[in-house]
């Protein structure tokens, strides 16, 4: 970045991502941000950039691309919830704009589709549709985090017969469940 030698700026980031053969909309770009601990969109800090790639012995673009692909594969594997969760939770901080406590639901929807749809192909479209309909302004960190827990816990349950509205789930998830139930009847 011409203004700040400690970080790679927006243009540099785009160049870099393209250098890796990726589009900025690719999930791997997000993974990249995660593993390099990018503080916000389009910015990499010099220090974490160097230290991470050094620790992974990756000094060339193909090396780096290989690592990203491996991470991506792990997300797709049946057991990869831990990595997914880390990435998912990290994403909230990555997406959120400065001085905000929630993310805009439209943006949130984009990221849900990007991050989760391949693992939860049934629930994510309904959820996104629901969020659009319900016109919830912002998505708080708690809702964001709890949503993945919810997906994992109810992965194979689309009827929610034993749903307990008194449990600790955020209201929006309660509402989503009753929305789904009405839908299934």
């Amino acid at each position: 970045d011409p203004d700040n030698r400690e970080q790679i700026g927006l243009d540099g980031t785009i160049n870099y991502i393209q250098g890796l053969g990726l589009e900025p909309e690719d999930r791997r770009a997000l993974i990249l941000a995660f593993i390099l601990d990018s503080p916000s969109m389009g910015i990499f800090r010099h220090e974490s950039f160097v230290s991470y790639w050094t620790s992974q012995n990756a000094y060339t673009l193909p090396d780096m691309r290989g690592l990203l692909d491996r991470f991506e594969d792990e997300l797709k594997s049946e057991t990869g919830y831990i990595k997914l969760k880390q990435l998912y939770r990290y994403s909230f901080g990555f997406i959120i704009e400065k001085n905000q406590t929630t993310i805009d639901s439209d943006i949130a929807i984009d990221y849900w589709e990007l991050l989760l749809e391949d693992r939860f192909p049934e629930k994510i479209p309904i959820w996104c549709e629901f969020v659009k309909l319900a016109k919830k302004g912002g998505i708080s960190k708690d809702v964001w985090n709890m949503f993945l827990d919810f997906l994992i816990q109810y992965k194979d349950d689309n009827t929610y017969d034993n749903w307990d509205p008194m449990a600790a789930w955020p209201n929006i998830i309660d509402e989503f469940v009753s929305y789904c139930r009405k839908d299934t009847i």
């Binding site: 960190k141 709890m146 955020p170």
Partner: protein, 963 residues
């Protein structure tokens, strides 16, 4: 033979005593046995003698026998190791004897039934009315009545067989008693056999096997032939006893028979085995099964059960709860007395249980649900007798009264809901009546009770406004609820022993139905407001006020008339308006109790505060009501009671409002008697803005233009106040206070009591020289800066309202337009010196103006009714808005309260599971309102968002407090 043997003829238990006394009495006669002399021949002689003696004893010829000799013979036989032979011989002889007895009995008697029990058929005589059937039913209690009752569902009693059976029963009992008696004698003679042989070989004593043999070879012999007859006879007799058809001696006979049954022990061999196995090795242990338990009791219970079943079924067929519970109560009572007299102790509880089960438990649900004469009816009519009975019966089957309480809850819940409907009908009725009365001179109100009529006449001179209807509804509804509660409390006390379970049931049920109507909080507040206002309203003194922000207010007084005279008035009257009598106290206590049942207590607080504020600011007695001593003051008494019901935090604002008014009064006195001492008297209410619901826009207030003399007065007061309390800020709110103005009109001088805005308008003509000036509405607006809505309203009050036309208006229409001209009406007249200007309400002002403007184009004044409707609509709209505003405020307050409560709990607990947090919260907040789980979750989410809380990484149900 010793005379003492006659003691205790039949009681086996006393055998031991008897033996003792025999031994004691005979000791001298008994010579030590001569061991040497007896031989074989003597032995069989001895037995022969004994055998004969036994027969003699059984034939009641014992008086010739020598006890000593016989005893010695038996003694010797045992001593010579012939105990076994003797034992078996005796047993055989007794057995044979008893077999003969059996044959005799059977030969001479055959059982003939005396009661024929028909199968029950439902046979309600549908034609007969209740009184008859009930009387019919009671017949059986009257012993003088016909012995033979041949109604279809009553068993038939065959009188001719009774005596026969009785005689038979007597005979058996006598035989039994004789047998016991002989056995006692025999066993005395054979005492040594018992003591040495039987004991050593763990065999039953002679006496015991005598009884067993009677059981085995008389009563139960041949498949319990005699036994069955006896059972049947005893049962028949017992049935007659139940019908009160027996004499005392007959009852005693039954009792003796049962005693006999109890004494009859099982076959001794069975018992022997038991003994040998050492299960019951103890001598005299009589726990072995006797005839009574084995044969009679089951039969007896079965028959009793049938009897109760038939009884219950018959009663059920009346479909009348009263008949049922009264009849079974008296049956139970009689049965218990009978049991006490006749039935053995061990059967008593079994019968009671049986009876309770069949008569009460099995049918209670059905009985209590009968339509018509049953629980609901008794509760409604306060039939204490029936309720008491019901309670007593219920207590027999369940000490927790689950069923009865459930019924009670249903009753309260259903009827509680009906109260609301009732009030609505009542109000509708009044309205209809009113129409009727208008149409027909004296509409026939036959159907309506006088209460209705009175009310309707009083209330319905004109059509009520929404607010009046609302007040009426609130008053009637709350009154009914309180009355309903009073009734139930009386029942609780009189009939349910003030049982805690019941009292909780009643309160819960109340809470349930009351909260179905979300308006209950408001209604209670209206109800109390209305009552307190009425109690306070008795005098006319004048005061006024204004307020806002940390406080403030101007007010009152002044002006002008004929010669610029500014005179004043006003002093608070001294009559003791705030004082109360006991009625009022009781009333307040009674009303406040309802608060306990209301979930949304915070909503009540809000409404109450609104009304309280209005009362304090507008009632001329407010000073008195606040200043009076606490016990004697309606308002503060009410607050104290509310506090008792809800806790301190609830009423702190209300109390603050009082303090304000009180303090204001002191300040006013000080101000008026020192600084502001001139003809213009100023009374100011200083209101702390956070306590008071009434608010005003500071922006508007600061723009209002006051005449110079009022302005300087205000400034004087400001100066006075700031000197005392620096750092506070006063903001005069101009739309709350009133002025008293004396004006000389052409005819007379009048004192005009008028709201400040209206007063400000009038004061435009305060200068005599300018009396004939005319201003347009627009001009007035510019001169006073009163907001347009208020201006129109106040102009209407003093130029359109028929009684207070202080201004002339051109053109003379109801609506007010910018270009309308206003001038002072010098020819104003009024019957009284004091004239109070009533401000037209915001609503009707708007409506009138709207309508008037609308109608202006068309014809004037088409129909009053239509006008009214417009007004009504506006009023309803307005009310809706107000309610919504209040609801919004309340919901907002709740958010804060939930937040605060969560933080408080989490601060103390640090980490807490979701469910625990929920229940703690509800506990904490229930005194104010009942938070919904959703609303709590929302607050938790918001606190999570604001980082007051965080979720545990592993357990999503666990929250952690973030310091």
């Amino acid at each position: 033979m010793c005379a003492s043997m006659h003691v205790n003829k039949s009681q086996r238990t006393s055998t031991h005593t008897t033996q003792n006394s025999i031994r004691h009495g005979l000791r001298a006669k008994i010579r030590p046995p001569r061991i040497s002399s007896l031989n074989q021949a003597n032995l069989s002689d001895s037995w022969n003698d004994l055998s004969i003696a036994i027969t003699e004893i059984q034939n009641k010829n014992a008086s010739n026998l020598s006890f000593g000799e016989l005893y010695t013979k038996a003694y010797n036989m045992v001593l010579r190791k012939h105990g076994e032979k003797l034992y078996n011989n005796v047993k055989n002889q007794i057995k044979n004897y008893l077999l003969n007895v059996y044959k005799d009995i059977v030969k001479s008697f055959d059982y003939q039934p005396i009661v024929i029990y028909p199968l029950f058929e439902s046979s309600i005589k549908t034609g007969g009315d209740n009184i008859d059937t009930e009387a019919d039913f009671n017949d059986s209690n009257d012993p003088n009545d016909t012995l033979i009752n041949i109604s279809t569902d009553e068993p038939i009693v065959l009188k001719e067989n009774i005596d026969r059976n009785i005689r038979f029963l007597e005979k058996i009992v006598t035989i039994w008693e004789d047998h016991i008696f002989s056995m006692k004698m025999i066993s005395d003679v054979l005492m040594y056999l018992d003591r040495v042989y039987a004991k050593e070989n763990s065999l039953p004593s002679v006496y015991d096997f005598g009884i067993s043999l009677f059981n085995d070879f008389v009563i139960t012999y041949n498949n319990n032939k005699i036994g069955e007859m006896l059972n049947q006879i005893v049962i028949d007799q017992f049935y007659l006893t139940r019908k009160n058809l027996t004499t005392n001696s007959e009852n005693n006979l039954i009792k003796s028979a049962m005693k006999m049954f109890e004494s009859l022990q099982e076959d001794y061999l069975t018992r022997n085995k038991l003994r040998n196995s050492r299960l019951k090795a103890k001598e005299g242990s009589t726990t072995a099964v006797n005839y009574y338990l084995r044969y009679f009791e089951p039969f007896f219970l079965k028959k009793s059960s049938d009897y109760y079943e038939v009884f219950a079924k018959k009663l059920l067929s009346f479909h009348d709860g009263s008949i049922y519970i009264e009849s079974i109560s008296s049956l139970i009572n009689e049965e218990e007395n009978r049991f006490l007299l006749i039935v053995p102790d061990e059967t008593y509880p079994k019968l009671v249980q049986l009876m309770d089960n069949i008569l009460i438990n099995n049918n209670f649900n059905q009985i209590l649900d009968f339509e018509g004469n049953s629980l609901n009816y008794w509760l409604y009519n306060l039939d204490f007798k029936k309720l008491k009975l019901t309670y007593k019966l219920a207590k027999r089957i369940d000490s927790e009264f689950k069923l009865l309480r459930e019924k009670l809850r249903n009753y309260i819940f259903l009827n509680g809901q009906k109260l609301e409907v009732k009030v609505k009908l009542f109000i509708q009725n009044i309205n209809n009546n009113n129409n009727n009365n208008n149409n027909n001179n004296n509409g026939d109100n036959k159907n309506n009770n006088s209460h209705n009529n009175n009310k309707s006449n009083r209330l319905n001179v004109k059509k009520r406004t929404l607010k009046e209807t609302q007040t009426l509804f609130a008053n009637e509804w709350i009154k009914l609820i309180l009355k309903f509660r009073e009734k139930l409390k009386t029942s609780l006390k009189t009939c349910f022993e003030n049982n805690n379970n019941f009292s909780a049931t009643i309160e819960n049920a109340f809470s349930e139905f009351i909260n179905l109507n979300p308006k209950v909080s408001e209604c209670l507040a209206i109800y109390m407001d209305d009552y307190i206002k009425k109690s306070l309203k008795q005098s006319t003194s004048i005061s006024s006020k204004v307020s806002n922000n940390i406080s403030n207010g101007i007010n009152n007084s002044a002006i002008a008339n004929g010669n610029t005279a500014i005179s004043t008035i006003n002093s608070s009257s001294n009559n003791k308006l705030g004082s109360m009598n006991d009625d009022i106290k009781t009333w307040i206590e009674g009303s406040v109790i309802l608060l306990k049942f209301i979930n949304d207590k915070d909503l009540f607080e809000k409404y109450y505060k609104n009304y309280l504020g209005k009362r304090l600011l507008t009632s001329r007695n407010s000073f008195n009501s606040v200043v009076g001593n606490i016990d004697n003051n309606i308002e503060s008494f009410a607050i104290i009671k509310i506090k008792e019901e809800t806790g301190t935090s609830f009423t702190s604002k209300l109390e603050g409002m009082f303090r304000d008014i009180k303090k204001s009064k002191e300040l006013n006195d000080e101000f008026n008697s020192n600084i502001g001492k001139d003809s213009l008297e100023l009374e100011v209410n200083i209101l702390t803005s956070t306590f008071w619901p009434q608010t005003n826009s500071r922006e508007i207030d600061s723009k209002i233009i006051y005449p110079e003399f009022l302005k300087s007065k205000q400034e004087e007061y400001n100066e006075f106040y700031y000197k005392k309390y620096s750092g506070r800020f006063l903001n005069f709110t101009s739309n709350f206070g009133t002025m008293d103005i004396r004006i000389q009109f052409n005819k007379k001088r009048h004192e005009i009591i008028i709201p400040i805005y209206g007063g400000l308008i009038l004061l435009l003509w305060s200068d005599l020289d300018q009396r004939n000036l005319k201003f347009t509405m627009k001009e007035i607006e510019e001169k006073t800066m009163i907001p347009r809505n208020d201006l129109i309203r106040h102009l209407q009050s003093i130029s359109v309202a028929p009684r207070t036309r202080l201004l002339k208006k051109e053109p003379m229409s109801k609506g007010i337009n910018e270009t309308d001209l206003f001038s002072f009406n010098e020819s104003f007249e009024a019957p009284t010196f004091k004239v109070k200007v009533l401000t037209i309400s915001m609503i009707s002002s708007a409506a009138t103006n709207a309508k008037a403007n609308q109608a202006a184009n068309k014809k004037e004044d088409q129909a009053g009714g239509k006008n009214r409707n417009v007004e009504m609509d506006v009023e309803i709209e307005d009310k809706k808005r107000e309610d919504q505003q209040i609801m919004r405020d309340v919901l907002l307050d709740r958010k804060y309260e939930i937040d605060a409560a969560i933080v408080r709990i989490m601060k103390a607990r640090k980490r807490l599971e979701h469910n625990e947090l929920m229940s703690e919260l509800i506990k904490l907040l229930i005194g104010r309102f009942k938070p919904s789980p959703q609303s709590i979750k929302q607050r938790i989410e918001s606190l999570l968002e604001k980082d007051y809380l965080k979720r545990d990484e592993q357990n999503i149900n666990l929250y952690e407090y973030v310091a």
